[in-house]
Symmetry: D2
Subunit: 340 residues, 4 copies
């Protein structure tokens, strides 16, 4: 088994998760180097994760002879440049979504990726590696629910993040609710249906935080999509789930339906008290997708060893961004938008 | 307490349910007369329900001095005429949905109804009288889930009816999936939100019965709706639920969510077997809304006694039909349609 | 169809339920007479239920030529005498549980009942007429879960009744927790298994209300039972469910398990809020067994019309009391007790 | 952080799980040596897990200077001897349950363990390290459900193991159903209540495999237990769950109840099909307690580093065996048995 020696860029909330997994939870992976402009994050890498090499710049890191792979968990604006540089250095590349900020730059980076077919490239659509999603995918692929007619996807962040989001939005562009929150759901639609999205209509409502109207941001949105095979997709995206982190998917077919996290249960506990019968709920993505983040990295390491490309590739990233952009455009214009 | 003496017209599947309730399950109600062109149905009324007067025509029945109310459960095409005649006779009127076949005739019958304000008029939106829907309505009205942002409604008939529907559709116009199946859901959207639907986009897919494409009918459809207060509505309508009768509603608000029949459970039984943990499901509307049909008739009798009009009035019927028509038009043209 | 004309004795909490059902909710039944020593209860019967004849004594009521059946919902101490008198008058008899206060008097009244085989006699084991229990019984009888090995029954009253129970217990003998609460569960054990209980061990604990220790009463108890066919029964009985009314039954068999009210859900509503995913729960027996109370009376009326005896007969009452007594004795002595 | 270098003895089904975790899934742990009398198992350790030292005997392995800890996953009959030898060698010891075959030998090994207080000793009561059990324990300890009155524990193995068990039982003594299956549940009772079990009554029934009667073995059993604080425990133990692996625990308190795995759900998937609404179920202990097995080893490593003893100690093993023995004796004699 080849040891995959990672350098990671970005040690924020999600970066720390990937760093810990690469350092401790993924057999065959070593976290050798880390890069961040935040000194405390590099200290964390050294002291908590035993990372030997720390760098202030990405360029320095990828020049290290100790690494053969990078994990890119930096802000979205850096993805295209860092993927390109790492690819050209001959490194295997794992990158968080999105692939890039817009279709033009994504198309350019795809060319670079395609020019290095012997290096592994993986885009972090981790839901595909969640045990429940994989179980559902097998059911669908095995024909257990017949032909798909409707797919419904919810992706709603917990409201505990709303106040800081409103502050953030005063001075920043989040990229929009649909790019921010629905991109995983758009990927799931494509993954489950094996069909492309053709046309969308998107709506939005700011109810708890009407000040977002002026900022051009959304608290909650919905989109309906027509697919090439006529399957219908219904998406709800939000930032304000008072009860936790709500990722739910439903697939309706001619022979049955499958739901993943119909209720986004936190664990196997049920409490009976004066409120009723209570199931605790998932509170955030690190909790809900803890194992999926590990599984995707295990898959990455397997791909390196087995010299094959993983699911969740650059084209998936391109298509998801195209659809998310169409949702944003549809919402802004309040009209149907065709995907180019 | 005033005895409400009913004459019923129509003794098909739903007609028999109403007839039995009026005869046996609604205190203060008597089923005195029945009218049908099917002799067997009149025999049923006499022998099973003890109905004393049976008629071949509606005109004869409403001339009977024994009745002071009618229940109209005839085919939709007769509703407007029968409501009009009964109103002019001074009778209280309960009618099944829809109020009429199109907006023009519905508007004309509303004038008649409005000219007889002292007679009770009720449109059979029975879901409003279901215990679980009423419980949810109180939660929403009490502000338990904050301001509504999204409402999702499923109304899917069991697939056991598909084959006969396909046969029927070869020679008949069903009125369309959205008028047929979504009208209750459209009413729920208006009832829960207290807001009007402004704009819709509707899609459809025939997967198990592609022959419906040629017949201009739909097996499964979906619609997204924008409301005047910006609340977003997502509807799924269908005729082909392999697992039973699926009526489900979700209300998402700024402080929480409420689901009615998240899983459309048949009873309180759970079975653990080699399939997994199994909850049996509702199989058809007579089972799911058994008590709601009784409750709405109890409410009708109370309204007669208390000289007040019930919820679920003629304007609700008009609005629901307008929106259902817009869905049909949107599906046919594949474009956004504004409600007039 | 024969009209069954009831006189009812006892118009307390449960009496009012039966009275209303007999007056309004059971086709073929008329509530003609009522008997109570509480004048307000007789006023209620006249004014709310239209009862024509009201009596201060049971003897007067059963002398009325207008009735052909009695419903006995009086305090337990009167059951034997009232059953006996009504039987001798030639009336059909429905009685609430228990059949009598002790085995000796129950055996004597059974003789009377057996001497009048042409009069319907029914003991109010209403759970047998609950839709979910009936569904489960069919599954078990159809062999869906194979041979039974374990049956678990919970019967726990809501804690809202605890304070008044403690007051009551200071001056009264409740008959004991197991006679009071487990008698329906004991009947279910016998009904589902078709086997008799042989031996029991019972325990109890007063935790929230330790003052019950001195009063010889129990807040919560448990019993394990060995049946003749070696099936094992586990019972929990209580008066202090903080979350509502908890009646739950589980049947474990060699091919699967069935649970009735695994979670004692109130309706089809689910609420997602900061507590988690919440299902409201049943709060008391009138709510949980509303339809079962109606169904058992419908069955009684059918039995009168069809001249057959219902399920839930006098012997079932005798056996249930024997087992409940054995539980009490076992708890008092803390030893195994064989059923005689 | 001290590296804990393990030697493992026993590489059967559970042994392989522990070996893999120690080799790959527990940071701070190395699997350095393995011991087995089965050559294929040693090959597996070398080739799949990279174990450097393999031995045919335990004595050889513990003489290796490379290890500072052992994991004992050998047949139960070897536990006492191996614990003793490892302790005397100065090694940290993790052992699977049971501590020993009988109370006498367990008491002798406890003396050895107590004589080496600076070496970590852990007994594999892994359920204490399951996320859901830990969540429930916090709720109970925080007083969320008040004072405990009843605890119910199910531990039922999947029926897929029955046929080989019957074969095994023809020539071997399993130790008995209660020692085999209930020992984890007995530990949970003690863990949740902080009270000791005083008295038990146990029953059993062989329904699907009546031939077990002659072999003195049980397919399904139940036990009721009285605790010193009067809490009541109800246990079901079995080897024949047709639907999978059923470990479920319920805690009833004066302010509410907590259930762990009320339905032993496999994942977050729900399927709606003609069977009803189906949740897939856990199929075996490696699946259900996958993370618990990892968590307990992480805790072991932490204990070594932090020089503290873990939960799940030798006395817990002794008490659990005492109670399991009492259950066996009670079942054999069909009488109440007091714990010595």
């Amino acid at each position: 088994m080849v040891e995959v020696n990672f350098g990671i860029v970005g040690l924020g909330r999600l970066g720390k998760i990937h760093a810990k997994n690469l350092a401790k939870n993924v057999p065959g992976s070593m976290l050798v180097a880390a890069c961040s402009i935040v000194p405390e994050e590099l200290e964390h890498a050294k002291n908590e994760l035993g990372v030997e090499e720390v760098y202030a710049t990405f360029d320095e890191m990828i020049n290290s002879p100790s690494i053969n792979a990078v994990a890119i968990v930096s802000p979205s604006g850096f993805h295209v440049e860092q993927i390109t540089k790492a690819m050209k250095k001959g490194l295997h590349v794992f990158t968080e979504k999105p692939l890039g900020l817009n279709v033009a730059e994504i198309e350019s980076v795809i060319k670079v990726i395609n020019n290095h077919p012997n290096q592994i490239f993986m885009l972090g659509f981790m839901r595909r590696y969640d045990e429940s999603y994989q179980y559902a995918k097998r059911l669908v692929d095995d024909g257990e629910i017949g032909e798909l007619t409707v797919i419904r996807c919810y992706g709603i962040d917990p409201s505990k993040g709303m106040e800081s989001f409103v502050e953030f939005a005063k001075n920043n562009d989040s990229g929009g609710l649909f790019a921010d929150m629905s991109i995983h759901d758009i990927d799931l639609v494509r993954w489950f249906t094996n069909s492309e999205i053709k046309k969308v209509w998107a709506l939005g409502k700011n109810a708890a935080y009407p000040e977002l109207d002026k900022l051009g941001e959304l608290e909650t949105g919905a989109a309906m999509m027509e697919l090439e095979d006529r399957t219908m997709a219904l998406l709800v995206a939000g930032r304000n789930a008072s009860y936790g982190y709500h990722v739910e998917t439903e697939l309706i077919g001619t022979k049955g339906s499958v739901r993943i996290a119909n209720i986004p249960e936190k664990n196997l506990v049920t409490i009976l008290n004066e409120k009723g019968s209570v199931r605790p709920l998932s509170q955030d993505f690190p909790e809900r997708f803890k194992m999926a983040f590990i599984n995707e990295m295990k898959e990455f390491v397997s791909c390196v060893n087995e010299k094959r490309q993983p699911e969740g590739n650059a084209n998936d990233g391109l298509q998801a961004t195209k659809v998310a952009d169409a949702c944003s455009e549809s919402w802004e214009k309040n009209e149907l938008v065709k995907i180019k």
